[in-house]
């Protein structure tokens, strides 16, 4: 496993990278840019694209419709923050809150809606501009291919996208898991050992896999698929690619499966590294 800042070769971009590249803290964006400028080719998968569309594009579309209903942009954001507490949404909402610091947007609902549409359209386009190549779609997940149809009236296109992005289990996830059952057993076996037993994100997914190892079919549900997402991604990625991610859950998975990993620093680490050294008293 490579956790140092190796800057050459091809990277596989995990979902947190494009998401943070769009809406992350400015220091995080700057850090990602350093890696992307030096990598040869940027790869990803349709599974990651599905996760991205679900966590970014769908969130923005949902917020757009909430904003149309609510009286002010602040009301919309407030309501949305109350209702959705996942960490992926947190940075998107934090970024949009920053947009509302501009009083022209905060006091003008029409302009706010235009800004949301700009973000919807831009974020949709962004992933395709960022990625050079896609790995084989072993899960057969069709959701990554869903698009916002050009030519359809925009709100109608958003409605269609929101409907289609909802999983109806038309994939071959069960086949992939059965095919990789040996690797799943390896994860279970090694996952109980130190330091993996302390990796919270990894252990949550592992617990689910342990309970389903006999009949892997039960993992083919929308909720379970999302819970073991990191493991699915790691199983799909060819060994020659290094996974670029902020998610520490990948540390254990990649180490056990022998996959390359470049773990990007958290915001706290970046801030610490930039803080001036304290003066000795």
């Amino acid at each position: 496993m490579k956790t140092n800042n190796q800057l050459d070769g091809d990277y596989f971009l995990e979902t947190s990278v494009p998401r943070q590249m769009l809406f992350g803290h400015s220091l995080i964006k700057e850090e990602i840019r350093k890696y992307l400028r030096k990598c040869a080719q940027k790869w990803s998968s349709f599974y990651v694209l599905m996760e991205y569309k679900r966590s970014v594009v769908k969130t923005l579309i949902d917020l757009y419709f909430v904003a149309k209903e609510e009286k002010t942009p602040s009301d919309a954001l407030h309501y949305f923050q109350e209702g959705f507490k996942t960490r992926q949404n947190k940075i998107i909402l934090s970024a949009i809150a920053a947009l509302l610091e501009d009083s022209e947007i905060a006091n003008d609902e029409v302009k706010f809606l235009v800004k949301l549409e700009t973000l919807i359209f831009g974020s949709f386009q962004y992933f395709h501009d960022l990625i050079d190549k896609y790995i084989e779609n072993r899960t057969g997940c069709p959701l990554g291919k869903i698009s916002i149809e050009d030519g359809t009236p925009r709100e109608e296109a958003y409605r269609k996208f929101s409907e289609e992005i909802d999983c109806v289990r038309r994939c071959s996830l069960d086949e992939l898991l059965k095919d990789r059952k040996g690797q799943l057993k390896l994860l279970i076996r090694e996952g109980e050992k130190d330091p993996h037993d302390k990796n919270k994100g990894f252990q949550e997914a592992l617990l689910l896999i342990k309970s389903a190892i006999g009949t892997l079919d039960v993992l083919k549900t929308k909720t379970n698929c999302m819970k073991i997402g990191d493991i699915i991604i790691a199983l799909e990625v060819p060994k020659r690619l290094q996974i670029l991610t902020f998610d520490r859950g990948f540390e254990s998975t990649c180490q056990i499966l022998g996959k390359g990993l470049v773990l990007l620093p958290s915001l706290a680490t970046l801030k610490k590294s930039r803080a001036p050294a304290s003066q000795p008293s």
Partner: protein, 204 residues
């Protein structure tokens, strides 16, 4: 048999007396004040159309001054599509030269005014955005986000060059919105707001 010509042919809503008084007004312009209410002259020259900020326009004629009061209510109306397109095109044509000067002054205080004038141009187009097609509104929004919270000195010459090209090509119709976004994305021009928090906080 030739039909008899009716002498009482009338145009709906127009009184024959009106025609008569109209013809009289040619001879005596002062008569017009009895006949028609004074009509507002369209303000084609103001810099701040549709914002209610337009100063009073003084029109001189016949030795007297007629004051046309441009009320805010008039400008609250939605501008026509053609007018909005004209404002869009005119400003987009003017922006590249501003960006050219900005590019040459990124390292000195002169650059600030070109940046400011660039923002003002965008602002003027926003004033008529209601009447623009959605694609143009989104493009305008993209441009605004490309320079949001950025000072002129934060920009690199290459980024200004890219913005200039994108505007020129969009204005002349060779680049659509998706193409403009792609160009900005590939050149690392950030049009997205940044969070103040980290999504990995929970894992710390």
């Amino acid at each position: 048999m030739v039909p008899e010509i009716q002498s009482t042919i009338r145009t709906a809503g127009v009184d024959p007396l009106q025609n008569f008084s109209d013809s009289m007004s040619v001879l005596n312009p002062y008569l017009t004040s009895f006949i028609q209410p004074p009509q507002e002259k369209e303000d084609r020259y103001s810099e701040f159309l549709y914002k209610g900020l337009t100063p009073q326009i003084v029109e001189k004629g016949n030795g007297a001054s007629q004051v046309i009061d441009v009320t805010a209510s008039r400008y609250a109306e939605k501008p026509s599509r053609q007018y909005a397109e004209l404002v869009f095109q005119r400003n987009m044509k003017e922006i590249p030269s501003l960006l050219e000067q900005l590019k040459a002054n990124l390292q000195n205080p002169e650059g600030a005014k070109f940046m400011q004038w660039f923002r003002e141009k965008l602002h003027r187009v926003w004033e008529v955005a209601d009447a623009l097609p959605k694609e143009k509104v989104l493009f305008l929004s993209v441009l605004e986000e490309a320079v949001r919270t950025k000072k002129w000195r934060d920009l690199a010459a290459g980024q200004v060059q890219v913005l200039e090209q994108v505007i020129k090509q969009t204005e002349n119709g060779t680049l659509n919105l998706a193409g403009a976004l792609s160009t900005l994305h590939h050149n690392f021009i950030d049009i997205y707001p940044s969070a103040s928090i980290d999504e990995t906080d929970e894992n710390e």
